[in-house]
Amino acid sequence: MNKTCRIINLQEEYSQLFKENISLLENGAPEQMNVLRAAAFDSFISKGIPSNKVEEYKYTNLQPYFKGTFDVAFSSDGAINNNSEKFHCGVPNLDTYNVFMINGWFAQQDELSTLPKGVIIGSIRDKAKEHPEIFEKYYNTNAPVDSDAMVAMNTAFAQDGAFVYIPKGVVVDKPIQLVNIMTGENDRLIFQRNLVIVEENAQVKMMLCDHTISPQKFVINNLTEVFANENSIFDAYNVQNQHNLTTQVSGMFVHQKKHSNILTNNLTLHSGVTRNNIRVTMDDERCESHVYGLYLSDKNQHVDNFTFIDHAKPNCESFELFKGVMDDSASGAFTGRVLVRPDAQQTNAYQSNNNLLLTENAKINSKPQLEIYADDVKCSHGATVGQLDDEAMFYLRARGINENEGRILLMFAFAYEVIEKIRVEPLKENIRSLVEKRFRGEFDKCDSCVVCGQQGSSVSCL
C-alpha cells in the first residue's frame, strides 16, 4: 500500500505522516519494532532533520532533500510492483548468496539450500517473529535513538529489511549480497532496517548494494546494525551506485565483542547526496576494526562520510582510511571521530583521510578528530588535500605516456590503496575495473555498468 505525502514543512508533515499512519506502520511488524516507535519518533521530532547547524552535519544540510512529494510504502505490495521483478543483479564472476529488496522491502532470495546449517536469512518482519529470542536480544541495542536524528527516524518509520543470523562456529563460504533496488513511478521515501548477528567463531562477508533503476528522486534512510560476537569475523562492502537525484543516509552500526575482527568498506562510486554514518563500538578487549572508504564524485554530487570509532575497552586496534577524488563541482566531507574512553589503555588507533581535488569548483571538508581519555595509547590521524603530483606526472610523460593516460594512472594508483583492502578477491577485481572505468569516463554508459549487470536495459541504472 502506497501513500503519497507532500513535505514542505519538515517538522509538521513528518509528524503528520507518522501519526496518521501509525496503525499501518505497526501492522504486521514485530512487536519489538513497534514498542520503540513512539520514543524514537519523539526523539526524531525534537531533533528534526539535521541541517548544517548541527555540528555532526556541518557539511551536509539534509533538510532540502527531505522536502518534496514522496510515495511511502506501508506494506510490501506497495513497494514491489511487476516492473521490479525483471531485475537481475550480479557482479560477474562473483558467486554470492543473493537477497533482493525492493524499496527497502524484502522481495526474494535465491535458493539458499546450500547455506550452512543454522544460518538464517530473510525478512526482518518474518524472522523476528520466528526467532523472537534473538531479535529482542539485539534489535536497536546498538543504535540508540537519541544519538542521531536519522537513526531515530529510521527506528520510527522502518518496517522491513534483512535479517541475517550466523550461528556459532559457522563460516559462510560465499559472500551474502543484499541488493536493494529502488524503483517507482513517483518520487519515493524509503526506509530499510537490517540486523546482522555473527555469533562466536562465525565468519561472514556481506555486500550491500543499493541501485536506482528508475529515474525518479529517491530519499533513502537505511540502517544496519551489526553484532560481531567473540572471535567472529565480519566484512561489509557497501557499494553505492545511484543516480544524481538520490539522497542516501546510510547507517552502519557495528558492535564488537572480544577478539572480533570487522571490516567495513564504503565504496561510493556514484551518487546524488550520500551521507554514511559509520559507528564502531569496541565493547570488549582485543577487537580489531578496519574502516575504509573510497568516494569518487563528480557533477554536483556530495559525499559525507561520518565515522565514529569508540574504543570503549583496552587493547583494541582500529585502522581507518578514507580517500576521495572530487571532480567537476563535487563536494565531499569526512569526519573521523576516534574516542578512547578512560581506562581503554593500550589502544592503537590510526586514521587517514586523503583527497584529490581535480577542478577549481570541487570542494572538500575534512574533520579528523581524536578524543582521548587514556594515556597509554598510540593514536594518530592525518588529513591531506592536494592535486596529482607534478613530478610523478612528469616522470610518466618523460616515458611516453600521454597526459590523460598519466592522469588516469595516478588517480587510479591513489584510489587503489582502498580497493586493496577488500578481502573478497573477485569483488576486489570487479571494483578495480569499475574504478578504472570510472576514471576513464566510461562509467556513465549503462552498458558498461557491471555492478547492476543491466546490459541492454532501456532504463539507465545511474
Binding site: N355, I364, Q369, L370, I372, A374, S380, V385, G386, Q387
Partner: protein, 482 residues
C-alpha cells in the same frame, strides 16, 4: 619502575601556583552588573568621543541578542554576567615623571613578577606598558619610540589622541557582532594597548604589556590593537600572572592586528593566569578573541603562545590571509594540569593567492585536565596555490587526563596543498630507560623530554620570553624538576 614513574609524575604535576599573591591597592569600582547605563558610564568615565559610545552601545545591544556558545569541548560553569564589576581603576592615578612616583606597593608587585620597570629596563631593552586592572599606569620609552614615529600607548589615550586611527581600525578585524565574548568586550572594554608602526619603520625593541587582574570580582576586558603599516616590523609580547584567589574570574579580551604590505608582526604570549587549586576550585576563565589580518601583499603574522594557566582557556588566535603571498604562522604550547581545561588552536583563512600557513601545536595534559586542539584551515575558492601544514601533537602525563584534536579542513580550491598530522602519545618507557641508562634520574628525564617536546615552539619566542616560558612550564608541570 612504573610505580616510580607514577610517583615522580605526581610530584612533577603537583606543583603549586607560585605567583599567587594579592596586592592591596585602593580601587575605584562600579556597581556590579551590566546594562546600558553601565556601558554609558564607562564611556563617560573615560571621556570618550561620541563614536566610541556608539560603538559600545551597538555592541552591547547585539550582545543582548546572543547566547553563550556551547560547542567547545569545555565544561563551563554558568557565568552570571550581572555579578561582575565591569570597571575598576586604581584611585590614585599617578602622574608619573620618574620611577619614584610609582606607588611602592605597585612597584613591589612588578618586582615580584620580575618586570624590570626601573632603569635596568634600558639594558633589557624592553618597553613596558604595564596594565593593572584595566588602566595603564605607566608607559615607558615613549620618547624613544616617538622619535621613530611609533605610537605605543593605552587604547584610552589613543581614543583621545588618535581618533582617526581608532575609527579606522578598531573593530575592523573583530567586528562587534563576531562572537559572544567579542561583543561583550566591545561593549565594556576598559583599557588595553594601541600600537601603530608607521611605513618602513622597524620597531627597535620588543613591545610588551603585563596584564594583571588585581581586584576581587573584576572581569578584565582588555582591548589591544596593533597596526603595522607598509614595510614595518614589530614584535609584541604579552604575558600575565594573576594572584591566587577563590572566585572565578572572567577574562574576555580582544587582540586585533592589521598588517599592511610587506609588514611583519610577531605576537608572543605567555599566559599564566591562576589555574585554580588542585581540586579545580577557582581560577580564571580566559575567553579571548585574537585575530590578525594580513591585509597587504607579502605581509606576515606570527602567533606564538605558551598557555600554562587559567582554569579554562578558550581561544583561537587566527590569521586572515587576505594579501597575496601573505604568511600566517601559529606556534602553541598548551599545558593543562589538575582540573584545567583548554580548547585552543587557530584559524587560518586563506583568501589571497599564494598564501602560506604553518601550524605547530603541542599539547601537554596532566592530572585530571582536558586539553583540546581545535583549528580551522580554510582555503577559499580564489586562494590559488595556498599551502598549509599543520602538526598537532599531544602528550599525556597520567591516565586521568584527556587530549583531543578537532581540526577542520575546508578546501575549495584545487591548487591548494593542505596537510594535517596529529599524534597522541605518552612518554615512552624506552625513552625513560634510555635516559636512565645514561645516568639521568627519571625525574630529570621527564623534564628533559617535555622540554624537548615543546622546544620547537619555545624557540620561536623572543629571548626574554623564552626564559620565562620555560620557568612557567616547570612551575605548571614539573614542580621540582629542573
Amino acid at each position: 619502575m612504573a610505580e616510580d614513574q607514577d610517583k615522580i609524575l605526581e610530584e612533577v604535576t603537583g606543583g603549586e601556583y607560585k605567583y599567587g599573591f594579592y596586592t592591596d591597592i585602593e580601587m575605584e569600582e562600579f556597581p556590579k552588573g551590566l546594562n546600558e547605563d553601565i556601558v554609558r558610564l564607562i564611556s563617560a568615565k573615560k571621556n570618550e568621543p561620541e563614536f566610541m559610545l556608539e560603538f559600545r552601545l551597538k555592541a552591547f545591544r547585539h550582545w543582548q541578542t546572543m547566547k553563550m556558545p556551547d560547542w567547545a569541548h569545555l565544561n563551563i560553569p554558568e557565568i552570571d554576567f550581572n555579578d561582575i564589576i565591569y570597571y575598576a581603576v586604581p584611585k590614585k592615578k599617578p602622574e608619573l615623571e620618574s620611577m619614584d612616583e610609582v606607588d611602592p606597593e605597585l612597584k613591589a608587585t612588578f618586582d615580584k613578577l620580575g618586570i624590570p620597570l626601573d632603569e635596568q629596563k634600558v639594558l633589557a631593552g624592553v618597553a613596558v606598558d604595564a596594565v593593572i586592572d584595566s588602566v595603564s599606569v605607566k608607559t615607558t620609552y615613549k620618547e624613544t619610540l616617538a622619535e621613530k614615529g611609533i605610537i605605543f600607548c593605552s587604547i584610552s589615550e589613543a581614543i583621545q589622541e588618535y581618533p582617526d586611527l581608532i575609527k579606522k581600525y578598531l573593530g575592523s578585524v573583530v567586528p562587534h557582532q563576531d562572537n559572544y565574548f567579542g561583543a561583550l568586550n566591545a561593549a565594556v572594554f576598559s583599557d588595553g594597548s594601541f600600537v601603530y608602526i608607521p611605513k618602513g619603520v622597524r620597531c627597535p625593541m620588543e613591545l610588551s604589556t603585563y596584564f594583571r587582574i588585581n581586584a576581587m570580582n573584576t572581569g578584565q576586558f582588555e582591548r589591544t590593537l596593533i597596526v603595522a603599516d607598509d614595510d614595518s616590523y614589530v614584535s609584541y609580547l604579552e604575558g600575565c600572572t594573576a594572584p591566587q584567589r577563590d572566585e572565578n574570574q572572567l577574562h574576555a579580551a580582544i587582540v586585533e592586528i592589521v598588517a599592511m604590505e610587506r609588514a611583519e608582526v610577531k605576537y608572543s604570549t605567555v599566559q599564566n593566569w591562576y589555574p585554580g587549586d588542585k581540586e579545580g576550585k577557582g581560577g580564571i576563565y580566559n575567553f579571548v578573541t585574537k585575530r590578525a589580518i594580513c591585509k597587504g601583499d607579502y605581509s606576515k603574522v606570527m602567533w606564538t603562545q605558551v598557555e600554562t594557566g587559567s582554569a579554562i582557556t578558550w581561544k583561537y588566535p587566527s590569521c586572515v590571509l587576505q594579501g597575496d603571498h601573505s604568511v600566517g604562522e601559529f606556534y602553541s604550547v598548551a599545558v593543562t594540569n589538575n582540573y584545567q581545561q583548554a580548547d585552543t588552536g587557530t584559524k587560518m583563512i586563506h583568501l589571497g593567492k599564494h598564501t602560506r600557513s604553518l601550524i605547530v601545536s603541542k599539547g601537554v595534559s596532566a592530572g585530571k585536565s582536558q586539553n583540546s586542539y581545535r583549528g580551522l584551515v580554510k582555503v577559499s575558492k580564489k586562494a590559488e596555490n595556498a599551502r598549509n601544514f599543520s602538526q598537532c601533537d599531544s602528550l599525556l602525563l597520567g591516565d586521568k587526563c584527556g587530549a583531543h584534536t578537532f581540526p577542520y579542513l575546508e578546501i575549495a580550491n584545487n591548487s591548494a596543498k593542505v596537510e594535517h598530522e596529529a599524534t597522541t602519545s605518552k612518554i615512552g618507557e624506552d625513552q625513560i630507560f634510555y635516559c636512565n641508562q645514561r645516568g639521568l634520574s627519571t625525574e630529570d628525564a621527564v623534564g628533559l623530554i617535555v622540554n624537548g617536546y615543546v622546544k620547537e615552539v619555545i624557540n620561536q619566542l623572543p629571548m626574554e620570553f623564552a626564559v620565562e616560558a620555560q620557568k612557567l612550564l616547570q612551575i605548571s608541570l614539573e614542580g621540582s624538576v629542573g
